[in-house]
Symmetry: C2
Subunit: 352 residues, 2 copies
Amino acid sequence: MPQKVRIALDAMGGDHGATVVVPGAAESLVRHPESEFILYGDSARIEPVLRQHPRLAAAARVVHTDIAVKMDEKPSQALRHGRWKSSIWLALDAVRKGEADVAVSAGNTGALMAMAKFNLKTLEGIERPAIAALWPTLRGESIVLDVGASIGADAEHLCDLAAMGSAMARVLFDIGRPTVGLLNIGVEEVKGLDEVRKAGQILRDQPVPYLEYVGFVEGDDIGKGTVDVVVTEGFAGNIALKTAEGTARQIGGYLRGAMNRTWKARLGYWLAREAFRALREKMDPARSNGGVFLGLNGIVIKSHGGADAEGFAAAVDLGYDMVRYELMVKIRQALARGRDHTAAAAAIGGAL
Amino acid sequence: MPQKVRIALDAMGGDHGATVVVPGAAESLVRHPESEFILYGDSARIEPVLRQHPRLAAAARVVHTDIAVKMDEKPSQALRHGRWKSSIWLALDAVRKGEADVAVSAGNTGALMAMAKFNLKTLEGIERPAIAALWPTLRGESIVLDVGASIGADAEHLCDLAAMGSAMARVLFDIGRPTVGLLNIGVEEVKGLDEVRKAGQILRDQPVPYLEYVGFVEGDDIGKGTVDVVVTEGFAGNIALKTAEGTARQIGGYLRGAMNRTWKARLGYWLAREAFRALREKMDPARSNGGVFLGLNGIVIKSHGGADAEGFAAAVDLGYDMVRYELMVKIRQALARGRDHTAAAAAIGGAL
């Protein structure tokens, strides 16, 4: 019988709080019956929903707190009033204390990241955590990081992102040596950013056993699925992610408009409705919901704030996989191999 | 009778050279009979195609050159062997000498930009040119710049981009005060890049008559059409553009797959084929083909290298509009108003 996976949930997070978190957890529990849950939040709100999910109720306990971080609170405000006692903090604290293997929250991203840094601290040698996103592609799924945890990155940080992203790819895609590309632009003579070029040279010169570095990729390679892991600093990564979301919504809008214009189109739409449903599911962010915070002493999953129960369940599943297939072990392996980067970066910095 | 618009064409540029450039010009001439063309390139290749388009032949002259810049040549190589004599250079030179009002090329972007800088020089006070792209949105079209001419931008350069982009929007969209947003990310406490914040403060504190600054926008605002002009530095801009193109192709791929899976879907597709055709046209890059180089002493249009005749005609149309509605005059107006930015940037830099 597999070992238990203990999941701490911020039951107050997201636009819908417990009404989404509880059924989402229940849905994930069906797929992973060996999960156990601790639900942090207002018990008066959690308990009534939990009673509708007796199977989850049997596998969960509720830890009451009155304090919840608002979705629009600044990280500094959230830290001031929510440290030690908010539902986000307590979920993270369960991971720190070893009472849970992973924390999942649909709450305020900035506050979650600030508290995670403050409480769990970054891994040795990692200065800044990153957010890794699962990105649906023509070939399946890829991991893109950093999608907005911090702005700017030197060559060393990019190499750390490559190591951590490939560890996550090993967990999720069950492959020994995920392919990794550095996001760059090919228009200029200089072929993009200095830091990206330096990072490319390091990854090329120092073979990392758990990672196959394939070179630079451009924005359109993400959707093609050219590589398993796309590495970039957080500003460009966040803009890429949001732009892709915007483009998908835009095309969805065009499509609805086009299919409504004539009776033939409407009839065609009706006949092909199953195909359209499949397409919608493929494009549905809920199916691959959840950003993974990487670089911390512990696993933290951020669900989309507007996720429904199905979407939140996907984020819980993601957390489950990260624990079950030992993300932390694989990250430490990858970083241990990559720890000579600092010296290499300095040497290359001088040579360029 | 309207004044002539004199268009210099690099007839060797792009994946298809004269076989696309000549029919493309002919197509644009039908829409704008007051255009005149100078075609630069190998006359042995141009003349046979031109003979098939007698109306264009009557409005065009051919200037022979053996030298063409290859699509994969580095800008420095292209400058070395193509300066003074390649088809790209001669087309740009016609603009410099006042023999043409605009140059259009589907050639190598890096080489075209390097030669344009070298030959036409940047406008007074502008250090680096930018490439502005027309971006189809849910509300129509927006202008996004810089999409890859240079990497990084200080607050002053971002303000110049805002001024030049809004001048282009006045030309294209026929509005007095285009709305302008600065591309940023909203995840962090600090709300994005320092330079972007500084630029925002300048644009807010100094009302510019031909521009309505509306604040920060995120990646998903581009497709929504939240503003007429989206301003960003070239690295993030290029990644946004390529990512959007990749996402559009990806969804197109999903759609084809979904519509082929069952006979009902195929029948539905057949019935709705007109709607799908309209959708394809809406998503077709050829319809809004052409990047505009801004910040130079002259108008230069870059067509997509893979464009067909219809796509190249769209780029020629774009060049025509830029001349007819006086892009250069409007850019100079916008920059003259904005020239106090340097002092303001220094003051704000101290205050932040």
